[in-house]
Symmetry: C2
Subunit: 307 residues, 2 copies
Amino acid sequence: MKAIVSDGGFGTRFEDVPDPLPRDDEILVEVQATSINRADLLIASKQPRGTQLGIDFVGTVLTTAADGSGPARGQRVVGLAKNNSWSEVVAVSTDRVATLPGELDAPAGAVLPVAGLTALYALERAGSLLGRSLLVTGANGGVGHLAVQLAAASGADVIAQIRENGRQFALDELPDASRISIEAADSAGAAPIDVLLDSVGGAVTAGAFARIRKGGNAVFFGNTVREDLHLRPDWGHARPGVRIEWLYLLDEITRRDVPADLSVLVRLAETRRLRPHIGGSFAWSDIDKALRSILDREVGGKVVLTL
Amino acid sequence: MKAIVSDGGFGTRFEDVPDPLPRDDEILVEVQATSINRADLLIASKQPRGTQLGIDFVGTVLTTAADGSGPARGQRVVGLAKNNSWSEVVAVSTDRVATLPGELDAPAGAVLPVAGLTALYALERAGSLLGRSLLVTGANGGVGHLAVQLAAASGADVIAQIRENGRQFALDELPDASRISIEAADSAGAAPIDVLLDSVGGAVTAGAFARIRKGGNAVFFGNTVREDLHLRPDWGHARPGVRIEWLYLLDEITRRDVPADLSVLVRLAETRRLRPHIGGSFAWSDIDKALRSILDREVGGKVVLTL
């Protein structure tokens, strides 16, 4: 079967790979759509030529799991693969999938697993959000635009921080929009916040961190600009009780009920309380164009590949 | 009455100050002993000439509180004053004192409030310590040597990290010594740890932080070397689930039951499960010598002044 593999540099190419052999707890899924995450780009750049890629997928169950767990043959499912979902068929553990209702098309489902669970689990770290002020940096991004919506749906007053004005994409047409304010990082305000969700790094993170109130939370889940975070001596005196955590999804899912949590996201999307923004949709043969659109930061939201 | 005040530089001098006028919830205490904390040195260097100093104290109640709260006249008490305990008499809120049993002399009590509560509250942030591995940097210090003992008494396996060998002072003669290992920062091991308690900063902190396991805790409560903490991009990937917190005692006590928590420390000291190391004891007229011994890092443990 055909699959997208790394070309040993920053690029990818198509290759014929062996058909997957499912373990007893795995189903075989015929892939219909997938999406691109930053994690995929990192893996593509680090792994040897010929390494398969891809985590997110939506598809149809071809064969059920031998141990009887998981969805039935013919069902549509959404889930997380182990870096091999950019292929015609993928073998997936049944504790990494949820069923996808007919109301959601394949691209709408494919954006949920990595980005949605990252946003969901990062927000959980901050505890109750009702009436609290929360700032999301990189709010245009794949995770950011979902985190903004999930936080607003949880009762938070959300500051969606974007790189510069004019790039807010679909952020201003969201449910709970009255509790979402948009702010450009290059002209950021100084209003204090209770929670920071950050994946940008550098000066953006430093500026946002300085706004956290006493007893607040900072949750990091990425670092786009690849710069160290500097905490000054006595950083805790200015905002006592602040807790700093990192959300690392690929670790987190080993300890969570992924099917249940994915189903939460699916239901939210189905009822339009969560509206993923698909910034670009490409046939998988156009993978180069799709990757380029992300690296050039041309698009907001998520970029999807359809098979 | 006489009090020690800042001289506007890094030093102190004696001055006649007005007798304190207690509020309704305050007792007057005749001070018998006090100890020196880093916070005192910071305040002395930052506040204008003539500012009173001192947090820790042990003394005898001269007058009870008008509102009926707190200890009786003539009782010995230990507590925290608002930067004015280095004086003959101090007015103290009754929610900042505990009674001191006869078994503990004044110097033994005077080392407990700031250093002991800092150690106690910092350890609390890490949750249960039973069977977990905990590293204390600056383990010779005023807080450090108490944190080592409290952690060992809580069931942790403790690595007491000191600046260099030959400086372990009384660390190796402690209760629970079999669960305390001593390590020099300049030849530190690499054994993984569950919890880091740090107040040193710089390279010492960076080295210790890198040893924290998945799901561990870092609690900071000071920064002796006054250097930034640098967290590299993706610092959370190497040790998923790590939580970083700062313990700032002067904020923490506004939310805690200080008399009850001080009593815990008093009981531990009374029963010799906690053995504060008094590295230097000076008459308060020798305050200059006492301060010098701390700034020159000649002494471990705590430095006490007696009146």
